[in-house]
């Protein structure tokens, strides 16, 4: 019992983050080019406010993040996605 208590005490003092290792979802599916027309996938990479999710949060690699930002901007222009999402709705 004592051993168990000691271990928990040490954990409480430090900050532990149990995050899974992030990886690029597009690399996993082997996506060549991201199409701006499948907006439901793009919507997953936007925040609640409608902003584009940064790569360090979503884990998307540099190659795909560059395409993703352009695809989201095109989708906004063609009215697939909102520019700003308000919380009132």
């Amino acid at each position: 019992m004592k051993k168990y208590k000691d271990s928990t005490d040490s954990k409480q003092n430090k900050k532990y983050y149990f995050n899974k290792k992030k990886y690029c979802l597009f690399c996993k599916d082997k996506v060549k080019l991201i199409d701006y027309k499948n907006y439901r996938i793009l919507q997953k990479f936007t925040l609640e406010t409608g902003k584009i999710m940064p790569g360090r949060v979503s884990g998307v690699c540099g190659y795909h993040q560059k395409q993703l930002t352009k695809a989201i901007k095109r989708a906004r222009h063609m009215a697939f996605l909102k520019f700003v999402e308000s919380k009132r709705d």
């Binding site: 082997k30 060549k32 080019l33 190659y63 095109r74 063609m78 009215a79 697939f80 909102k82």
Partner: protein, 142 residues
């Protein structure tokens, strides 16, 4: 020099089927006059918009993939800009990114091959170990 392009345009929801066809034909006509190839036509039809444009909540979507020269594309853009029924349109090149993408796929193929080889090696060693273990057991029994 021919290049791959993608065109997309949004039409007024009040426009009739004939008007939709007229604009489609005019775009395709320009491309075919310049000896281009129409690869794919996607007609999505009426859809709800994410936000109102010119007080319209709906729109008619159409998408075209082509392979033409740049001069023809400039004319397509001009035509879409001038027509009143078109609310929004988008035109962009595709092939400049395809080269990079093809390079990436080569990398993926390489990594796949390496993964396959490592798997085979692991399986082989596992089977060999099992075989040895069985032999050992048999010897012990005897």
């Amino acid at each position: 020099m021919k290049r791959k392009y993608e065109i997309g345009f949004l039409l007024n929801p009040e426009s009739s089927d004939e008007e939709v066809k007229k604009i489609m034909d005019s775009v395709i006509g320009i491309i075919e006059n310049a000896k281009g190839i129409v690869e794919n036509i996607d007609e999505w039809g009426r859809r709800k918009l994410a936000y109102p444009i010119q007080k319209h909540n709906e729109g008619i979507y159409t998408f075209i993939n082509t392979e033409v020269e740049g001069k023809a594309m400039a004319e397509v853009e001009r035509r879409l800009k001038l027509s009143e029924r078109v609310i929004r349109f988008i035109v962009f090149r595709l092939d400049d990114k395809l080269k990079k993408a093809n390079r990436l796929t080569k990398k993926w193929h390489k990594s796949e091959k390496i993964a396959k080889k490592t798997k085979e090696v692991i399986e082989k060693t596992d089977s060999d170990e099992k075989f040895l273990d069985k032999k050992g057991d048999e010897n012990e029994e005897i």
